[in-house]
Symmetry: C3
Subunit: 303 residues, 3 copies
C-alpha cells in the first residue's frame, strides 16, 4: 500500500471523473455481497439500506468466522460504534482476511478520539490498510493524530466547521496510508491524496436520523466492490446517497417519516437521475492549516 | 422424537387442514410469551412484529438466564444470524430447557452452510429436537447435509429455484428429526414428513426488507404456542404472514414504507380475512432428486 | 444520598411544579450528551428518539470505556433488557463513574423479577444511587422486594392495575434509596418520596410499539441533564412524551405508522404546546396496601 507522496499543494488531476450513475448500474446488476461489522444501532438500518441500494448485506462479526466470511464477500466494512474488545478481535481478523484476498474494505472510526479503547482500535485497524476511511471531521482529525504519533488527537470531537477543518488532515492521512479518505458533512470532501472532490448533495434532516452515516459506510463498500477506482467509487456513493436524501425530504414531516422515505428513495432513484443531479466538483488539495486553527471550536461528539 | 418413517412417495394425508384463522384467534386471545434468541438485525422488527401479531415477545439470550426463562415462556425461537460462541451457549441452554419443559421451539438456521461455526452450531441445535425448522432453500439443503454426515452441505447458498430444490431435503429432514420443516420463498413448502402443503401468499417486496424472515420465525413460535398440531400451526402462520405482505404492498412506495404498512397489516388483518384469502394447497411428498440436480445453480447467500 | 423520611401519609408539597415546557426548551438549546447502555431491541429507536427530542445520544457499553465516557457525558441511562454478565460489568463501571462525577443517571430495571440474573443485577445497580428509577408496576414491585431483603419480589410481572398497585412500593423505594421513582403505565406515577404526581398523557398504541418505554428512559436522562430538580425533570419528560404519543396517534393506521408519527411528533412538538396540553396532577402519597393485595392479579411480563 505504498503510494506516491506528492506535495499537498499538487494541483488536482484534470482528468474528469466518470459519471456516478455507472457505478450504481453495476451495483444493481451485480448485487455484491457486503460483509458489515457495525454497531448495534446501525445493524438494522444498514442492512435495509444496503438492500434498498441493490447490494446483499451480511452481518458477520465473530472472530471465529469473520475472516472466513470476508474471503467469500465482495467487500468488508468495519464501524467501531458500539465497540468492545471481543468485537475488535473479529474486526482485525476480518480486515486481515480482506487484505489477504484483495477485497476492498472500509473503516468507519466512530468517535475515534473519545476514549482510549477507541484510539487504540482505530490505530490498529488503520494499520491494516483500509481501502477507504469514512468519517466526520472530528474523527478524521483524531485519526490524523493517531497516525502521526500513535496517541491521541482529541476525544471524539466535532469541528464547528466540520468538513473544511479536516480537509488537510484527510489529505495527509490519505497520503500516509495510501487510501481514500472521505470526510462527510454538509459538503463532503473526498481525496486519495492526489485527487480531491466535493460532493454537495444531501439534506439537513439526514443527521437527525441515527446511523445514516454508519449505513453510508456500508453503501461505500458496495460501490467499492463494483468499481476499480476507489476514489471514483466513493464520490459516486456519496452523491447518490445525498441525492436520495434530497428526494426523501420532499415527502417527510420529520425525522421519523424521513427515514422511510429515504429507503424508498434509495430503491427508486435511477442511475440517470444520479448522473443528472449529482453535485460533484473537483477540489484543490488544501494547504496546511495555521497552528491550532482547526481546533478552535471543538465540541464533544457522541459515538 | 422417534417418528414413523413412511416412504417419501406416501401420498399426502387426505384429512383437510383446519382453517388458518383459528390459530390467529387463539393467539390474539392468549398473547403467548415468546422467547426469541435472534440476531442484532432482527431484534427490533421481530419484537414489533410479534407485538403486532398479538404475542408478547421477550429477548433473553444470556447463558445465565436463557434456560430459566425458557421454562416460563410459552415458546422459544432461535435464529443464528449474528452468531458467536457465547450466544450459541445461551441457545443450547434455552433449547434444552424448552425440551425439558415440553415447550415448542423453532430453529432458524441462517446461512447454515456459510462457515464452519454455522455448520457446527446448526448441527448441535438440530440435535436438540426443534419442533420446527424454518429456513430458505439453501439453509434446508445445508441442514440436510449436516444431519446426514455431520459435516457440510454447502456454504450458505440460495438455489436458483429456491423452494422446489429443497422440498425433498425438507421431507428427509422432517422424517429424520421428527420435526416440521418449512422452506420459505416465493411459494412456501411445509412438511412434517408425512403431510406437505404449499402456501402461495406473499409479495415481492418482502425479501427487500431485512429480517422479515427472522421475524417470521418468531411468529411461527407464537402460532406453535397456541396450536397442538405443529404442521397446521406453521401453515397458518405462513399464510397469515404472506397475506399481510400482500395487504401492505398496496400502500407502499418502496421497501421503507412497506415495512410500516406490513406491521399495520399484521395488526389489522382479521382472522376471517385470513380464512378467506389464505392460499394453501396440499402438496405431494416429492421424490428424490436426480444426483447433483439441486446444486445446479447455487449462489452465495448472506447471513 | 440520605433523604428525610417522612411518613407515607405526609400530604404532598403544595408548591406548584414548574411548567414542563421549560425543561424541553433547555434540552433543545443545550443538546445534552446522553450515554445509554440499553438493550439490543431499543438501541436504534432510543437513539432516534433522543435525536428527535433534541439530545445527543451515545451508546457506549464496554467495561473498558463505559466509565471513561460517563465522565464526559451529561447523563447516563442503564436498561437491563437484554442483560448478560459482561454488559452488567460495563453498567456497574458506568454508574460508578456517573456518581463520582455527579452526573444524573437513570435505572430501567426491565423484568427485574423474572430471573436470578436480573434480580441480582437490579439489586447491584440500585446500590449505586440512581437519580431516577423508571419502570412499570411489576418492575417497581420487584425492586421494592429486592431492596427490602436482597431477594425476590416476583418474576417479571405486570399487575392487573399496573400503576396504582405499585404506588406504595414506589414511595417506599424512593424514600429508602433517596431517588425519584417513576411508574409508567396508563397514568404515570412519579414520586421522590415526599412529593408525588400523576401524568395522564399518552395513548393506547404506545405499548404496542416495542422499546418505547426503554427509549423514554433515555429521554428522562436528557431532561435530568438540564434540570436540577429530578422530580420535576421526570414529570416534564413523561408529560412531553405522552403528549407526543397523543399527537402521533392522529396520523397512525397501526403500530407501524405510529412509530414514525411518534418520532415526527417528538421533533415537532413545541414547548408551548407541552405547557398547554400536559395533564399533570399532584398526587397524595399512598398508604400501605392491604397484605397481599397488590399481588392479586399478576401475570408474566416479558423483558
Amino acid at each position: 500500500m505504498s503510494v506516491e507522496e506528492p506535495s499537498p499543494r499538487t494541483p488536482p488531476l484534470t482528468q474528469p471523473l466518470s459519471p456516478p450513475g455507472g457505478a450504481l448500474r453495476r451495483l444493481r446488476s451485480r448485487a455484491p455481497l457486503v460483509q458489515n461489522i457495525t454497531n448495534f444501532v446501525a445493524m438494522n438500518p444498514a442492512a435495509n439500506i444496503l438492500l434498498a441500494v441493490g447490494a446483499s448485506p451480511a452481518m458477520v462479526h465473530a472472530r471465529e468466522e469473520a475472516g472466513e466470511f470476508a474471503a467469500i464477500a465482495d467487500a468488508l466494512t468495519i464501524n467501531i460504534g458500539t465497540l468492545s474488545p471481543a468485537w475488535l478481535e473479529g474486526m482485525l481478523v476480518a480486515a486481515e482476511a480482506a487484505v489477504d484476498h484483495s477485497k476492498p474494505w472500509v473503516l468507519d472510526p466512530v468517535a475515534a478520539g473519545a476514549t482510549t479503547l477507541r484510539r487504540q482500535a482505530a490505530s490498529q485497524l488503520l494499520e491494516l490498510a483500509p481501502t477507504l476511511v469514512r468519517g466526520n471531521a472530528s474523527e478524521v482529525l483524531a485519526l490524523g493524530g493517531a497516525a502521526d504519533n500513535g496517541s491521541t488527537a482529541g476525544r471524539g470531537v466535532d469541528a464547528a466547521d466540520p468538513v473544511a477543518a479536516a480537509e488537510y488532515a484527510a489529505v495527509s492521512l490519505a497520503q500516509r496510508q495510501g487510501c481514500v479518505v472521505a470526510v462527510t458533512g454538509e459538503i463532503d470532501f473526498i481525496t486519495d491524496g492526489r485527487r480531491a472532490a466535493h460532493v454537495a448533495n444531501g439534506h439537513a434532516l439526514m443527521p437527525q436520523v441515527t446511523a445514516l452515516g454508519c449505513a453510508l459506510t456500508g453503501v461505500c463498500g458496495a460501490f467499492l466492490a463494483v468499481t476499480d477506482d476507489a476514489f471514483e467509487a466513493t464520490v459516486a456513493a456519496l452523491a447518490y446517497y445525498g441525492l436520495a436524501g434530497e428526494r426523501a425530504a420532499r415527502g417527510a414531516d420529520g425525522p421519523g417519516s424521513f427515514m422511510l422515505c429515504f429507503i424508498d428513495a434509495l430503491a427508486g432513484l435511477s442511475a440517470d437521475a444520479v448522473d443528472k443531479d449529482a453535485r460533484i466538483a473537483p477540489a484543490t488539495l488544501p494547504s496546511a492549516p495555521a497552528e491550532g486553527g482547526a481546533d478552535a471550536d471543538l465540541e464533544v461528539r457522541a459515538p
